[in-house]
Amino acid sequence: MTDTKTLTTEQPDQAALKPAVRMPAAVAHGLAIGGGALTAASAFLAWTYSSSFPGDLTISGYPGGLQWLTLTAGLLTALMGVIAAVPGLRVLAPGNPGNATLLFAVGGVAVTWFTLIAIAVQLHGLVNLTSGGWVAGVASLIALVGTLGLPRAPGSTVCAPTRAEWLQTLYAGAGLLAVGYLLHLTGNGAAGLVMAGAGVVPIARLCIVLKHYTGPTPTLRAAKRLPVAVDVVLMILMLALALEIFAYGVDTPYGQLFVGFLAVLCFSLWALSQSGLLRRATEIFERNRAWAAVLGFLTAAAFVFVQQSDADAALGVNVLIFAATALGLNVVVGLAGLLDLGYVAFLGVGAYAAALVSGAVTSSVHATFPFWAAALTGAAVSGIFGVLLGAPTLRVRGDYLAIVTLGFGEIFRIVVSNLDGVSGPNVTGGPNGIVNIPDLSILGFNLGNPHTILGATIGRFANYFWLMLIIMAIIMLVFSRAADSRIGRAWVAIREDETAATAMGINGFRFKLLAFALGAALAGLAGTVMAHVNFSVVPDPFVFAGPVPPNSAFLLAAVVIGGMGTVSGPIVGATLFYLLQQKLTFLQSNELLIFGVALILFMRLRPEGIIASRRRQLEFHEAEDAPAAQLSTAGA
């Protein structure tokens, strides 16, 4: 879709730094601020006649659903427009407030027009839009035009795509339309999706243009150090805001709202990074690492207080289980460079081990371990399986490992299905699994019972959420400390060049085995909690690819797309994946199809993942930035 040649920065041509739309600066500022304000105001109007569009946008005077997002985007545009217009407010946006205003305005256009189109499509026809809807649409466009008239940042290029690029876009779009139409004729369920993809192509092209237009992220001089107390307060505020935004996203009741939310969020983040605020925020977190860790943990724990019901906490638990497992896989894939395609089996081993010693009636082992012992058992048994599997295969060429692990993932399910006393010894209860696993009881506190803290009812899943959060913290600690140690260096060395690593005295086999076993043990640990959360362990979920995470393919994707070798990458990847497959229900059965395409596109466009470790970053883009870069920001 893009080719890297257009991405390489061209020499900023000072003469070309005129805005895209020529107008006096005062007019531009005025239009930007006014358009933003008007957009915000239009959210209070009724946009449609029918209340059957989700969120009920028929009420004047009170915004609903997607209108809130338009309101937010409009306000942000106006606010940033003011900052851009008044030189004395530059402290508030040390980077490039003009660009930030532009991007907020684009976010506003995106969410507003998306809503209008969705209304028109869903209710069949433009007649469903009231004048209020048109006001919103026009207002957002006015803001956009205004921001396009703002002075441009140095380093940006107005590079209208070349003729060839437009043609490319055209062909790609037309091709997708044609393919989509063909699929439609054959009745394929993915037809609409492919045709919609045709709409994405020009939008993507526009995004590229926008990217050039805004130029690189501004570099800032380090800000003055603030007192730690101020920093802490700022961090608390930022984290609280992030939590609120996250909770809003998690709680979006219908797909359209989630999509609008994502659009506003993406463009707002882009705008914040252009405004320099993101950089400032990062600085604060980086200079108070210990505080940041503690506050981050507390913020995550506070999630259960901002949730609407225990259903959100259930979602949170599942996300955490998925993310923790992905982080375990990151040891294997990201650090040691070993491809494990059957990783979910280790989660299964942990879950089964915990279920067996849980005291469930259906367990074939009649023993009840306390949780700490069960967790250790799960991790240990899983680690042992890792060693058993790794010992014969880690000696041979790396590619074979992929197939052996894939095979292991598959036969794990077959084996546990057969260990039911009929076609194998009775261990796992066969296809019926181990069911009615009792809730955990830690220090006499039963996690199954709801209780009240600070006036809020903390339900069963909230309890497990906290437990899982602690386990997550442990896994993060293990990962980051192992990565930054003699062991972690040995893993990376093996990944980089195994022959050279052994010549440096590293026992390649032993360390690969260690990575494999540690990864397996971490997955096993997550599995122990999963068994209790789900009340049961059955063979079916432990597949290579399925619609619901965790499964091996999703785990791998969370690591790879999130960012190999980093702590935050797999967590971000896992969260994003889980929420997307939960929220985008309008994709119907096409989630896996999208997932497959996403994997391919990511490998093409950004193989280092969303959060790139500094190593990966350079590994994948060696051609792009050959000049030596002093690495100041640590990735891992």
């Binding site: 990217k211 690189p216 882009w270 990074s273 077959i414 009929v422 296809p431 789900n534 619609p547 994709l587």
Partner: protein, 412 residues
């Protein structure tokens, strides 16, 4: 440079989802339920089934049948003053997802009962969530006896597991032995070869069949377990032929049953293949072709053509304009939804025609008394929450059609 390529990718993703969801917002259109009666209370009946993925054919049949039941109830004003609404959730055949759906349904105070799930493996992760909220759950498809009667049901110690869990599906404990009696007595085959596909349904069926069949005096010539979806059953076929068995009992669904039947007949085996309701599907005959001739499958309830309610249901379903077939569990799903409606009716009737503020507990209690003539026959629940309807019918493949062979009530 690098960060920008990420930003771009997210922007593309955002743009993509924008375009997509604008085009594909069909999700909400599945919900129905007219709100004609202005003063009416609207309550929700939840559905949990795999609506997407490989099992979606069955899941959609469940959802549509519940939808049909709700529409019918609203149309006939079955419960005066109360309108029903459907809330369908997709569990994607995953226990995790099912559990999450359960918490979502529990959190919605309008939900008075839930139909589902399809998979026993999903059920076990949901039962307790519903139970703690006293929210009635009626499964149209779970056949594992231990879901209601506890893990030791086979040894006679039956203990009700969850007071909120009911099912209209018949359990393996009835269907397997019924098939065994049919094979041993009616078909007079005394030497059976057992095959299952190592999934919950098949394993349970084969186990109960085996117990009853040996109790009757038959012999088990051999037993094999096949990988679901593997389709190469040549070693199984060879073993069956070598065992000298005169009948094969297959525990599993038709996608595995059909190739087995086909490969058996192709290899020159002459005995019939007998299966459960998972095999009694027209696709079985389509897939296995002429090889299916003479095979048998048991199914719950009286023969379809003898039940007026079933005929009405099928006609209404067709008239309802659903794009997906009602599939194997459509009838049970309709009955499941209807049983909830009946319970709501009973509660409302006992409370001056209105539902109490939190009716869940009352509805759960009322479920035990529910009794009506449904699609699959008389529907009511016993002390474990199982369907009391123990009538089963044997169908056989005759000239490319399922034909009723025998119907009867299991007693044993």
């Amino acid at each position: 440079m690098r960060n920008r390529s990420l930003l771009m990718l997210t922007a593309i993703a955002a743009a993509g989802t924008l375009t997509l969801s604008a085009c594909g917002s069909r999700a909400a259109s599945g919900a129905s339920g007219s709100s004609s009666a202005s003063s009416a209370t609207t309550v929700t009946i939840g559905v949990d089934a795999p609506l997407t993925g490989p099992l979606s054919a069955l899941g959609l049949g469940i959802r549509n049948s519940v939808d049909l039941a709700i529409k019918t109830a609203n149309k006939t004003n079955e419960v005066p003053g109360i309108t029903f609404k459907i809330e369908a959730t997709d569990d994607k055949a995953s226990p995790q997802q099912g559990q999450q759906n359960a918490t979502t349904l529990v959190a919605d105070s309008n939900v008075v009962g839930v139909v589902g799930p399809l998979n026993s493996g999903v059920a076990v992760s949901m039962q307790k969530i519903f139970d703690e909220a006293n929210l009635v759950e009626v499964s149209p498809a779970n056949t594992n006896p231990s879901l209601t009667q506890g893990p030791s049901w086979g040894t006679g110690t039956k203990v009700r597991q969850f007071k909120s869990y009911f099912r209209t599906a018949t359990t393996d404990a009835i269907q397997g032995p019924f098939a065994a009696q049919f094979v041993y007595t009616t078909l007079a085959k005394k030497k059976v070869f057992l095959v299952d596909n190592k999934l919950t349904y098949g394993v349970g069926l084969v186990a109960t069949f085996k117990d009853e069949f040996t109790k009757l005096g038959g012999t088990v010539a051999g037993q094999d377990h096949v990988t679901s979806g593997a389709s190469d059953y040549s070693s199984t076929v060879t073993a069956i032929k070598a065992s000298g068995a005169d009948v094969v009992y297959f525990g599993g669904e038709y996608p595995d049953g059909a190739p087995l039947a086909k490969q058996l007949k192709a290899a020159g085996y002459n005995g019939p293949v007998v299966g459960g309701d998972g095999m009694k599907d027209d696709t079985f005959i389509k897939l296995a072709g002429t090889a299916s001739e003479g095979d048998y499958a048991t199914s719950v309830g009286a023969p379809v053509e003898s039940l007026d309610s079933a005929k009405t249901y099928i006609a209404n379903y067709k008239a309802g304009g659903y794009t997906d077939p009602y599939a194997a569990y459509g009838g049970y799903s309709y009955d499941s939804a209807w049983s909830i409606i009946e319970a709501v009716k009973a509660v409302a009737a006992a409370n001056n025609g209105k539902l109490p503020a939190n009716p869940r507990q009352a509805i759960e209690t009322a479920m035990a008394q529910v009794s009506f003539s449904g699609v699959t026959g008389q529907v009511s629940f016993d002390q474990y929450g199982d369907a009391t309807n123990k009538q089963l019918t044997v169908y056989g493949v005759k000239s490319g059609q399922w034909a009723t062979i025998k119907t009867g009530t299991f007693s044993g």
